[in-house]
Symmetry: C2
Subunit: 252 residues, 2 copies
């Protein structure tokens, strides 16, 4: 599911570090499901839970409902009893923490901090705490880096699965974003001549209508020209504008 690993060393072009999401003591099954979906839309698949509140959380109804099409992530997810187990095989661990700690790794914003991991890590785990208590000091101290999502200073509490979504998104953007698929069909903009032709046709109609006085033109045509240029009309739209001008002219 992740992009193919192009080479074995992190400084090779196109190298994609192995990526794992770790939820420590999650309480709400819906959040576990939503986290799985959030990971999957960004192309990540490895989920590990440390001491979830419910041992059967991966197959609970709320979990599966919120995972939507990401049930495959749940099926392959692992449950372990300590953060150390969850971090096995990982080189770099990034904590997400909202409350200050007595001592721990340096804090960075995802957008500035994640790009610095590229080219030097072979694998990275993103570690999230429980909904109510976040990560313990002991958990944070096991991590190399502390990620902090920039939020309102007086209301910085993100829902667990929202935090997973933002980090997954930022990491994917860092690795090289997926292409944006146009959601609306490609259009062909009319050329300069077509715009000028339509304007000339309208100028004639406007004179005929006595809306435009050629002796006192009052910058009407330059204004219409600017409007049309700003709208960057399509070929089809120019046809429509010309059609309206013809219809006005024909009017008995």
């Amino acid at each position: 599911m992740d992009r193919p690993v192009a080479s074995d060393t992190p400084d090779s072009p196109g190298f994609v570090p192995r990526t794992r999401f770790v939820l420590v003591r999650p309480s709400h099954p819906g959040n576990v499901g939503a986290a799985a979906r959030a990971m999957k839309v960004m192309g990540f698949s490895e989920l590990v839970l440390v001491q979830p509140r419910f041992a059967d959380v991966l197959c609970q109804e709320d979990t599966v409902a919120m995972a939507s099409g990401a049930a495959d992530i749940l099926v392959r997810a692992r449950i372990v009893s300590t953060l150390d187990e969850a971090l096995e095989g990982m080189q770099m661990a990034c904590a997400t923490a909202m409350t200050p700690r007595d001592f721990g790794p340096p804090t960075v914003a995802p957008r500035s901090g994640l790009p610095e991991l590229l080219g030097r890590v072979t694998s990275v785990a993103f570690v999230f705490g429980s909904e109510r208590l976040g990560l313990s000091n002991e958990d944070v101290q096991r991590c190399n880096l502390c990620l902090s999502i920039p939020t309102r200073p007086d209301f910085g509490s993100l829902n667990l699965s929202q935090a997973v979504q933002l980090i997954a998104y930022e990491w994917r953007e860092t690795l090289g974003a997926y292409p944006v698929v146009p959601r609306t069909r490609a259009v062909y903009r009319a050329g300069h001549d077509a715009v000028a032709g339509a304007l000339e046709q309208w100028r004639e109609v406007l004179v005929e209508l006595e809306f435009l006085d050629p002796q006192v033109p009052r910058k009407l045509m330059p204004r219409l020209r600017q409007l049309l240029l700003r709208a960057e009309p399509t070929v089809e739209e120019i046809h429509i504008l010309r059609g309206i001008a013809r219809a006005v002219k024909k009017r008995p």
Copy 2:
């Protein structure tokens, strides 16, 4: 709640466009609550619902639970019957759409498209469709721009409140991100002399232990030096390393 408007014209430095989030036909109360919370952590407060499935959604238990500390957003939210009403007073409307449309506004990724709004819009509405069906073609055609969150090509379906979270985050980052608050206490890195002193103390101990042969040093000390420099030790950590060296030396 939004940052203060510094001036009335969008090209003034520090101008913050009025920002509204519009949910069209949302079905799940939990999503409405989670969307309110997602907006609030990013400093936005104006929420409008168009034809929600439940008329009393703003005071349903799931909504309030998922809003967590963002009940104030729900209290001030408005319910209207058409998208046109929801867009009243707004200059720019950005649709979020996952499926292709026959015709409609141009598609951009939030990260590249949102910065282009700065300096030219006085107000912007972000428009989200229902969980199951998204926005209708008629809804999308009422918008100036179509935002598409880059996702896995074969699994691009974000949960509604996750989409709200990502757009709110990107718009806040565009407007000027909130500062990142260090989650761990500031530390004082040891100076070069302190590192060199600790290394010299360890060199003596290592020679005494016969771990280091001064005749055949095998680059041991340069390696330890590189390790220490890379770790950027604090003053306290240097004290600890020196303490261990002393303890080794004292050992009978």
